[in-house]
Symmetry: C2
Subunit: 153 residues, 2 copies
Amino acid sequence: MSAKTSESPVRLAAETWESLFRAQVAVMRRLQAGPAFRTLALNEYDVLFTLSRCPSGWLRQNELNDHVLLSQSSLSRLVERLEKRGLVERMPAPDDGRGVLVRLTEAGRDLQKQIGREHVRDIATLVGPALTPAEQQELLRLTEKLRASVTAR
Amino acid sequence: MSAKTSESPVRLAAETWESLFRAQVAVMRRLQAGPAFRTLALNEYDVLFTLSRCPSGWLRQNELNDHVLLSQSSLSRLVERLEKRGLVERMPAPDDGRGVLVRLTEAGRDLQKQIGREHVRDIATLVGPALTPAEQQELLRLTEKLRASVTAR
DNA sequence: GATCGATAGATGCAAACGCATATACATCGG
DNA sequence: CCGATGTATATGCGTTTGCATCTATCGATC
């Protein structure tokens, strides 16, 4: 424990966030350089990924919006683009006349799987050598705890 | 240690990154909602912040580019906008006729400090209650180790 | 010191973005 | 039921973004 990071709780929190953010930038830079993002932008892949993890298949557009770092209007148009490319389909929500449900098409699911595999390989070569498995487990636990706490409020 | 996350090294690395990324999105969402980003977009603040941390004051534009998640052309124009707003100034690099040096103006330094203070408060209220000080220290250590490893190659 | 590949930064252009707002539907109090 | 208030999505519009490309300079080789 260095003197620097124990000066004050506020300072520690700020430095922790700063470090987390920089790590994210560094990893993301490398990932974006790979060929996986040639055909699909990060946010577009992220939407396909989120949909692929959804048990029922269908997801409300506003729920999608919680996972992605995009404004509501941008997500609306992003989904529109994905629909035009035949990667997702939309239907009106049966229980809410305002809502729209989104799900992957067969082509969308295939593309997500294909890019996902590449993506996972890239991540493994970046993160694997950086941290021991025990450290990765701990990092996973801490970031999950942070995310849960932040989204709770 | 759950069975799920110990299936394979590749899977563990992918899940760790996924969790880190989601935490970053969740925190960033909250930060962007605050009034601190009303006057300055995230990337613009990030540039001012990076410049404020630079010992000599002057920083090469291409070095700036390593810290920010932006293409070279976008950063070029971003700095141009900051210059027009009187927040930074540019000068040709004395030792390299191709290069450009950037530094904060007085107004830029003031604005960075002002937004930085707000920013730090927001972070403290998000991260502080989420993790114990010891956990924050550990998260700081792990993300710094990850960043160092990734940027090394 | 001329040539050639590599690097730093700027710029044209189309695509994507966020903000403000419009529209349609839900929900609640009377 | 009806109006008021709130929520889900779409759209107009100005701004920002990335890609491709251009110019200028660097550094190495001969």
